[in-house]
């Protein structure tokens, strides 16, 4: 009730004038040219950070970046990501299979935030529609692309400190492996 009293301060005239002013505003809009871009005829270039279809990128050497750490599936609020991690020859961890159910995906981008290897990325490509819900289920083959996407130079395994066949101590900022039998003090 108190609210009304406060609001009533301007009086009926002011109220009516305000009402009229708002009608005028909408009316002037009516005669302006629509801003709409007609979509299929004209496709607006979207920023790289737009969040639409998800891809799995590769590192510079062409290897899969995904290490199947389950962080994306762990953080996904709609549980649309599932995978099975496995060990590749040489000790590299990778996804034996990797599946995103785009029918569930809400394109929130949390998976991309969580990804420690920059493997999973959202792209501006939003145009995908299917008739059958199961056609929205994308497997690793469907998700893998042959480029590095954003920050294509980063290679997790160069910094991770795990041996994937190149030997210990060969990556960025690593000392050669400790030789405990060394005679040096």
């Amino acid at each position: 009730m108190k609210v009304d009293k406060d609001k009533d301060e301007g009086g009926i005239i002011n109220g009516l004038l305000g009402l009229a002013a708002s009608y005028r505003v909408t009316l002037t809009q009516l005669f302006r040219k629509p801003l709409t871009e007609s979509y299929p005829e004209y496709k607006r270039p979207l920023p790289a950070r737009s969040r639409a279809r998800i891809i799995l990128t590769r590192d510079k050497a062409g290897g899969e970046r995904c290490v199947a750490c389950y962080l994306c599936s762990g953080v996904c609020p709609v549980s649309c990501i599932s995978m099975q991690s496995a060990e590749r020859e040489g000790g590299r961890r990778y996804a034996a299979w990797f599946r995103i159910n785009f029918a569930r995906c809400i394109y929130c981008g949390l998976c991309e935030e969580a990804c420690p290897t920059l493997a999973i990325q959202l792209t501006p490509d939003f145009e995908h529609s299917c008739r059958h819900p199961l056609d929205f289920v994308a497997e690793k083959e469907d998700l893998l692309v042959d480029h590095g996407g954003k920050d294509g130079d980063y290679d997790f395994y160069h910094y991770a400190g795990v041996d994937c066949g190149e030997g210990k101590g060969t990556h960025e900022a690593e000392l050669p492996p400790v030789d405990i039998k060394s005679n040096l003090p």
Partner: protein
């Protein structure tokens, strides 16, 4: 009882409690890396620093190194302490790799938690990181030294706590290295605990490597079924496969650890060859269809040949619910009472144990740790029940004297005295030992009955050396204040179990609070023992089958072929049956031979209650729904998209539910509609009232039959004092840590560790037979050949031939009777000469 203040909260703790533990009691988790309650404090990581503001100790101190004292005021959040702990984390992280995403520890990593909770997020150290080469530590544990933060937990557990000496710390300064001398499998059967203990990912679970994150696992509290100790575990399943098992702390049973057999023995639940399809006369059939047909045939047989033509065989791995249902069903259908043991000796031993173990005597593993003298008879702890060895080691570390009386070359991770007595001599030797002890300690206060009993015990064994050793051990026993007798049932018969109880009672009357600890032949053997009262043993049942008195046999989660000595007899007998119905989850021979087969559910799918060797009833919760593991459905690539269940993946009812279904079909209605298993309990079942009131006690329920005084000291004292005639060998078929237990022998990594089976022979016998160590021996048994490498040792009792139950020995080895006298040995080999060389022919 010191009274102190931690973070403005008051607490009183027992004397000797460290401040870190006192804080934990208040729910204040002081960060730590090197400290583990069971391993004690060493103060190496410096992570648990807190501020002592008042009291006998002042200033910043490690809370694990300071014992709580009166008047202490401690602040865990003092800025100086927080700053110091932050600094410690930063120091620890300068060399820690950036590999959490590919580390299996990620998600349940103490280092991760404490780094994040400590707020360390920016790297100030600009130098390069130290790296280490890794080692191959065998099929169970994966090594990744780069992650190490040098907390020393692993060596302290491995060397100090568990007593194995092949993993240690090498190097110095910031080049400390934890590992073995060279690549190779860890020797300790407790190596899996390194995975739980390591605060980061240096040791990770190898069989489940890269399979799942902890947060994705379906986890539930479970019970280990691989021996009778009933250790507590947490099982984790992912994508319909049980992939990991961890220990669960229970101070009444296993403490904080479990053995590797328990940790990795769960593979049987995920086997590709696990039967998941019901079969009706060899043809696949629907579960209900098969079960209905079974009921129909049972009715027909009962009508034609009488109710007693139907017999039931349960097992020591049945859940208690299943056992109760079996008994209820057979009672109300007027079938023969259920049998639970294939081996008659096991059945009698278990009966003796159940009859003799009462709460005055029963000890748990923690009680053994407190004992000052341990006498183990007929037990090879590391092979029979590994966690027993760990408990015994804790007693040894506290200074207990330990004596093992066994025919086998027992190896234990601590100093002990091995008294080698042949299998037949065990009861007598035990009697001599205790007689010596009691007479040395004095028999004052003994009633006449006890004195008579004592007098009737044999005073000597034939072997002079053994006699001397027994005398010495008797002296130690007499001097001890808290002795415990550990008695096995794997090789020794019921006489030994009875005698052990008698002796424990006798010692107790002699004012020594002695305890008794039995091992049993299965995770729920105790339950079977309680419910098998009045029923005869399997061999007699076999006779009835052969005579045609029994025409239908219902086998629930058992495989008579796995252990029954005479395979041919068993085979022909079961062939005579009109109906052999098998309910199991293992791809067993019996399952293949069944007319009607119903697939069962494992403990991970159905859950169940089990009574361990000390009479403690514990409940294992179901972990997951079950079904064919996704990896098998998909064959490694991505699983099918459709939601339809894969063929054969319908959820298998538990044995209890299957029997309930059968009972309904047979119009045997349980008294209550909800059919709580406990409502079907026989009235003389111990703890029945409590079970009805609290059906699933969370912390276990001690179920020990009440024994009257009159029941004590009842063993017939005319004990055998010698084994088979000279020149003959007693064949012992023994358990092995890995590769011999019915369930865990399906686990591939454990099979790798089990290695090829060995036959053990005493040096003197080997000399007589003219065979040498390492020789390949060929045993011919009923036309089948078993090849075994011979190991000659003088640490065992002469006159025995020791052969492990081993998955690789297959059915031929099962034919060896547990004990062969001379004549039988001859018959076994089909030769007439009593001499050894004929029994063992060189290949």
């Amino acid at each position: 009882m010191p009274y102190l203040i931690i973070d403005n909260r008051h607490i009183q703790v027992p004397r000797g409690t460290t401040v870190i533990d006192a804080a934990e009691r208040l729910g204040i988790m002081i960060p730590r890396f090197c400290y583990l309650k069971v391993l004690g404090a060493v103060g190496a990581c410096r992570m648990c620093a807190v501020m002592f503001e008042a009291g006998p100790v002042k200033g910043l101190q490690m809370s694990c190194m300071v014992q709580a004292a009166d008047g202490m005021r401690v602040s865990t959040t003092h800025p100086e302490a927080v700053a110091f702990r932050r600094q410690i984390i930063e120091w620890l992280m300068i060399n820690h790799p950036h590999d959490c995403p590919v580390c299996d520890e990620g998600g349940h990593c103490l280092l991760q938690d404490e780094t994040i909770s400590g707020g360390h997020s920016r790297r100030r150290y600009t130098g390069a990181k130290r790296t280490y080469p890794d080692q191959d530590l065998g099929p169970l544990v994966q090594h990744e030294m780069n992650r190490c933060i040098q907390c020393y937990r692993c060596v302290r557990f491995y060397q100090e706590y568990a007593g194995y000496r092949d993993l240690g710390v090498m190097g110095i300064a910031s080049r400390i290295y934890y590992g073995r001398f060279s690549d190779g499998a860890l020797e300790s059967p407790f190596s899996g605990n390194l995975i739980d203990i390591c605060p980061t990912g240096v040791y990770t679970d190898r069989p489940s490597r890269f399979l799942a994150r902890r947060w994705d696992l379906q986890r539930a509290d479970s019970i280990c079924l691989h021996c009778s100790l009933g250790c507590n575990t947490v099982a984790g399943a992912h994508y319909r496969a049980v992939i990991r098992q961890e220990s669960r702390e229970n101070v009444r049973v296993n403490g904080s650890f479990i053995c590797d057999r328990g940790r990795y023995g769960h593979a049987y639940a995920n086997l590709a060859e696990r039967p998941r399809q019901s079969r009706l006369d060899g043809e696949p059939a629907g579960w209900r269809e098969a079960a209905r047909e079974a009921a129909a045939r049972l009715k027909r047989i009962a009508a034609a040949a009488g109710h007693s033509a139907i017999a039931v065989l349960g097992s020591a791995r049945n859940s208690l619910e299943t056992q109760i249902m079996l008994r209820y069903l057979s009672h109300h259908a007027q079938w023969r009472p259920p049998r639970f043991f294939v081996n008659g000796s096991e059945a009698r031993s278990t009966a003796a144990v159940v009859a003799r173990l009462d709460s005055r005597l029963a000890a748990g593993l923690p009680d053994l740790e407190e004992a000052d003298f341990l006498l183990a008879v007929g037990v090879d702890p590391v092979n029979d029940a590994p966690m027993l060895a760990l408990a015994m080691r804790q007693a040894a570390r506290k200074g207990a004297k330990i004596v093992v009386l066994d025919p086998r070359p027992v190896e234990l991770p601590f100093a002990f005295d091995l008294l080698s007595a042949g299998l037949g001599d065990l009861p007598a030797a035990l009697a001599v030992l205790v007689k010596t002890a009691v007479s040395q300690a004095g028999t004052d206060g003994c009633e006449a009955q006890e004195k008579a009993f004592l007098a009737a015990l044999p005073g000597r064994v034939p072997d002079e050396k053994l006699q001397g050793q027994l005398g010495q051990a008797g002296g130690w026993l007499a001097a001890s204040r808290r002795p415990a007798i550990i008695c096995g049932s794997a090789i020794a018969g019921p006489e030994l179990a009875g005698l052990a109880a008698d002796l424990a009672l006798l010692l107790q009357t002699g004012k020594t609070p002695s305890r008794l600890f039995y091992l049993l032949p299965g995770p729920n053997a105790f339950g079977a023992g309680l419910l098998q009262r009045g029923s005869r043993y399997f061999p007699s049942l076999l006779q009835d089958i052969e005579k045609g008195g029994v025409r239908a046999l219902l086998v629930v989660e058992n495989d008579p072929f796995f252990r029954y000595p005479d395979q041919d007899r068993l085979h022909s007998a079961l062939g005579k049956l009109e109906l052999l119905m098998v309910l199991d989850y293992l791809p067993s021979r019996a399952a293949r031979a069944a007319h009607i087969f119903l697939p069962g559910a494992t403990v991970f799918e159905a859950g169940g209650s089990f009574i361990n060797n000390c009479g403690l009833l514990q409940y294992a919760a179901p972990v997951h729904e079950g079904g064919i593991p996704l990896a098998q459905v998909s064959g490694g690539s991505h699983p099918p998209r459709a939601h339809a269940p894969a063929p054969g993946s319908e959820k298998c009812p538990s044995a209890y539910e299957a029997l309930l279904f059968l009972a309904n079909e047979l119009a045997i209605r349980p008294p209550t509609m909800d059919a709580s298993p406990w409502s079907l309990l026989p009235e003389d079942f111990p703890g029945q009232a409590e079970l009805l009131a609290h059906p699933y006690p969370t912390d276990g329920l001690q179920l020990l039959p009440r024994l009257s005084e009159a029941e004590s000291l009842q063993t017939p004292v005319n004990l055998p004092t010698s084994g088979p005639a000279a020149g003959a060998l007693t064949v012992l078929r023994v358990e092995q840590t890995f590769g011999s237990e019915e369930l865990s022998c399906y686990a591939e990594p454990l099979r790798q560790l089990a290695g090829p089976p060995l036959a053990l022979l005493h040096g003197a016998d080997a000399d007589r037979a003219g065979v040498r160590d390492g020789e390949q021996l060929c045993f011919e048994i009923g036309g089948e050949k078993v090849e075994l490498a011979l190991q000659v040792t003088n640490r065992m009792a002469p006159g025995q031939l020791i052969i492990p139950h081993h998955y690789a020995l297959g059915r031929a080895a099962c034919r060896l009777p547990a004990v062969v006298a001379q004549a039988e040995l001859r018959g076994l080999t089909g030769q007439d000469s009593p001499d050894l060389p004929q029994a063992i022919t060189e290949s």
